[in-house]
Amino acid sequence: MTDTPIAIEVDCSTGIATERPLTADEIAARDAAAAQAEADAKAKAEADAAQAAQLAATNAKLMALGLTQADIDALLKAAKA
């Protein structure tokens, strides 16, 4: 990859594809979008972790009630069916 970001634009009225370096404004917008994407990815990872933690906690509660893992798996399978 080159150091200078390249944008490709395809003009549908002509079919001509043009490659050009990004402008300073576009680079700034790109950096801002990158920061947003990083925040989105972090939120996504946190949501995944929270879901996994809730699942593990629920599993532990069921096992504390005397259910085996096989029992819990059977319940989950039935619930999904």
């Binding site: 944008a7 395809v10 549908c12 989105d40 990815a41 949501a47």
Partner: protein, 169 residues
Amino acid sequence: MANPTLFQLATTTVGSGGASSVTFSSIPATYTDLVVKASIRTDSASNLTGLITLNGSSSSFSFRQLEGNGASVASYNGTTNATNTENGTGTTASTFSSFEFYFPNYTSANNKSFSIDSVTENNATTAYADLTANLWSNTAAITSIALAPGSTANFAQYSTFYLYGIKNS
């Protein structure tokens, strides 16, 4: 009922230098729907979430997404112009994500809803399948569609992008 017909409007393949974005501009208003099919890989070490811009706008977007990754499923929602998960360099070499963007009634005077259906490819346990319902709260006809890899990454060489118009008459 009329038979819908698919017309190829434009294509591009990313060259050896990579590309930070791909834009389809001057999209004619003579079709009923638009479809973008893309084969995407980025030069990022991690799998990134892509970004979409319509008519140069990256605001007034919202989405709801369902995702499976080979081990679990999840749903997400947000108010950004994010798209779906793309193959990064951590995935099997020379593999690409498959994307389809569908824009129904892209010239209507209503807000524009569109969907994104994609999968990453990876010879490993983890690969992502995403299905996203998106809304661009803007009543303008769509005349340009720009896709970017997200972060400061580039689309990798041989990533391909195809724009089709669908006519119902």
